[in-house]
């Protein structure tokens, strides 16, 4: 009877766990693009527009925070129709600010090649998530968790646009 293979035997077998695997596509062009951009940036520093874009992204978090701080459901006060109206207008302001920032960034990076090819489907997914959250907020405008998720989803859209056009890789 054939002796069954053990995991230790398999681990020692280079054919089972090959050290090298070929990626299905050439990954170098994306890397080359990113490192040449990094070289340019190192010599020039960040552009003013880019700094504005980053600070604007941060302002969205402030907006979310403000909505939550002034949200009556957080302070334990009873809700009135006017409270709900305020929440709705706060969310609408947040959405408007974000959309404005996003459009500015897309214009800013319009002529720059992206570091990866599939960033637009990723952006569409995030936009779809934001749409679902907004629909949920129409029925429950004071839901702090939904507002926070919406803010985060928007932030991720900005991060994605920034990252693929001007990678700011994290420290180890």
């Amino acid at each position: 009877m054939k002796k069954p293979n053990s995991i230790d035997q398999m681990l020692a077998d280079e054919r089972q766990f090959p050290e090298n695997m070929d990626p299905p596509r050439d990954l170098w062009p994306g890397i080359e693009q990113a490192i040449s951009r990094h070289q340019q940036k190192s010599s020039k520093g960040l552009s003013v527009n880019y700094k504005i874009a980053l600070s604007s992204a941060a302002s969205i978090f402030v907006a979310v925070l403000a909505i939550q701080l002034f949200n009556p459901s957080q302070s334990g006060l009873p809700q009135t129709p006017s409270d709900q109206g305020q929440s709705n207008s706060g969310i609408n302001a947040l959405v408007k600010t974000f959309e404005h920032e996003k459009q500015q960034m897309l214009v800013l990076f319009k002529d720059q090649p992206a570091a990866i090819n599939d960033w637009q489907p990723q952006l569409l997914e995030l936009e779809a998530a934001a749409t679902s959250l907004r629909q949920a907020l129409n029925n429950d405008p004071n839901n702090a968790v939904l507002i926070r998720m919406l803010g985060n989803t928007y932030q991720q859209q900005l991060d994605l646009i920034n990252r693929v056009h001007a990678p700011q890789w994290q420290k180890i």
Binding site: F17, P24, W28, I35, Q39
Partner: protein, 189 residues
């Protein structure tokens, strides 16, 4: 430069390329990429269980390696440094990816989407029997198995990387081994 480093210098053929890359020579860095990308990709694929994620992590690993090259002090081989960097990048990638899924869908790990079926991805990626089984493991068990069983990290190192206890790392490793053995026996039966 110390004698010890000089000796190491002569042992690792990558050091010359590293020095050139540090001076801004992207062609030298491309040589480093060509020498190491297949191994980096293999590590990324085993850790992420997705071709697309593995490609993204591989690119990120080399871009970060370029940026961080000045922090490489030649106390180890370049490949060792690159692999440590890659492991951390993948873990960071998985954390971010998962936190987004949890945030948007409010779901627990067990309900997160299953890893992509590699056989259905374009190009019909060729995997060994063991690699195919490995990619079916639950994420944490898979990560521990790859880092300890294949990459040779100690459980205390893995514990620090995954922010779990060393005991938990050992338990996940045994869980992975048992599952793999069970699946392997089924395949051979």
């Amino acid at each position: 430069m110390t004698a010890a480093v000089k000796q190491y210098d002569s042992e690792d053929p990558d050091y010359q390329l590293v020095d050139k890359a540090l001076e801004g020579d992207s062609q030298a860095f491309q040589q480093l990429y060509l020498a190491h990308h297949k191994r980096v990709f293999a590590l990324c694929l085993r850790m992420t269980a997705s071709i697309e994620s593995a490609e993204e992590c591989t690119q990120e690993a080399f871009i970060k390696a370029w940026r961080k090259l000045s922090s490489f002090n030649k106390q180890s081989r370049f490949s060792t440094w690159l692999h440590t960097l890659t492991s951390r990048i993948v873990l960071d990638y998985l954390r971010k990816h998962k936190s987004w899924l949890k945030l948007v869908f409010s779901q627990e790990e067990t309900h997160a989407p299953e890893p992509v079926d590699l056989a259905s991805e374009p190009g019909d990626f060729d995997l060994s029997t063991m690699d195919s089984l490995l990619l079916k493991l639950p994420e944490r068990a898979r990560l521990v198995f790859v880092l300890h069983g294949i990459e040779g990290y100690r459980h205390v190192e893995i514990a620090e990387m995954l922010k779990i206890s060393a005991g938990s790392s050992r338990a996940q490793y045994h869980r992975a081994r048992n599952l793999l053995q069970e699946w392997l026996d089924d395949e051979e039966a």
